[in-house]
């Protein structure tokens, strides 16, 4: 599968994402530049973590208007696979490619730690290498990861299976203490209605080598690789 990782000014995990996909997984991956409109024929677009354009005003608010995002929106409308990690998730929400929004953690401070996630829907292109209910150990590192959306919208999303990942404790149970940022319904990752756009706050690209603390992130990338059209 051909992957493209978008580099915005202020992207930080762009290199790490490319490293995870190309060096660790051995896939064909390239960097895409925010000022370009061409996606270079890739089959999956990854919007990486970081602070695009400084994340001034609101996270992802300015990146949404960069030239490449027009193409990404078109690509998504055509059914192309798009994954947004952390800042990428925030950009996708701002661009209305995903429902909801991400706001400041309830602690009001940045949090960097490993958390447990439960796979709520394993039949998406992003999770098919996992099983329903599987637990993943992934790092989070963000100051604005509190997921919000109108109550009724969340209910519909849940019914449709759009809630893909939830924060849980090591035993797989939801609890307030296991919800690191105060997200509504402990939501950590969501998909659009067509299930070709996926955003998540945890960082699968930082969980691909045992020496660096775990390999659960590979499940996400393997799922996508196995979903090539």
């Amino acid at each position: 599968m051909k992957w493209g990782v978008v580099r915005f000014p202020g992207s930080l995990d762009d290199g790490d994402s490319l490293y995870a996909i190309a060096d660790v997984m051995g896939q064909d991956a390239r960097m895409l530049w925010h000022k370009d409109e061409s996606l270079g024929g890739v089959e999956c677009v990854l919007l990486p973590g970081g602070f695009s354009y400084g994340d001034y005003l609101r996270t992802g608010a300015i990146a949404r208007f960069s030239p490449i995002m027009k193409s990404v929106a078109k690509f998504a409308a055509d059914g192309g696979l798009v994954i947004g990690i952390c800042n990428g998730f925030q950009i996708l929400c701002e661009a209305h490619l995903l429902p909801g929004a991400l706001t400041r953690n309830r602690s009001l401070s940045f949090i960097c730690e490993r958390v447990w996630l439960r796979v709520e829907n394993a039949s998406t292109p992003f999770t098919r290498a996992a099983k329903q209910g599987d637990l993943l150990r992934l790092p989070i590192k963000h100051g604005e990861g509190l997921y919000v959306a109108p109550e009724d919208e969340i209910r519909q999303m849940e019914e449709r299976g759009q809630v893909i990942l939830r924060y849980v404790d090591a035993g797989g149970r939801e609890s307030d203490a296991a919800n690191p940022n105060g997200s509504m319904r402990a939501i950590a990752g969501v998909a659009n209605q067509r299930f070709n756009v996926f955003g998540l706050m945890p960082h699968p690209e930082h969980a691909v080598e045992a020496m660096l603390g775990g390999v659960d992130g590979l499940k996400i990338f393997q799922s996508i690789a196995g979903s090539a059209r």
């Binding site: 609101r58 309830r106 919000v148 959306a149």
Partner: protein
């Protein structure tokens, strides 16, 4: 013309910052305070001939960029109105 934009967290949306400020104020002894909300205050200079032209511009800017309707409400004032 000066435009002042006020962006506030939407009713029903969590406002952790507002809650934190409220509890800090109370622990500082300001017991009579409640309902704290923290939003953004954006000042802009808009070159426009009339206030209503400036209003139109301001509205467009709010909708395009300055506020996110999923979580925020906005209102604005134009100088001399």
């Amino acid at each position: 013309m000066q435009v002042r934009v006020f962006v506030t967290p939407r009713m029903g949306i969590l406002d952790p910052q507002g809650r934190a400020v409220e509890s800090s104020l109370q622990s500082l002894g300001f017991k009579n305070v409640s309902g704290v909300k923290v939003g953004k205050y954006i000042l802009l200079e808009v070159q426009a001939r009339t206030a209503s032209e400036a209003r139109d511009e301001a509205k467009k800017m709010c909708e395009a960029l300055l506020a996110n309707p999923v979580i925020e409400d906005y209102r604005f004032e134009v100088d001399g109105e």
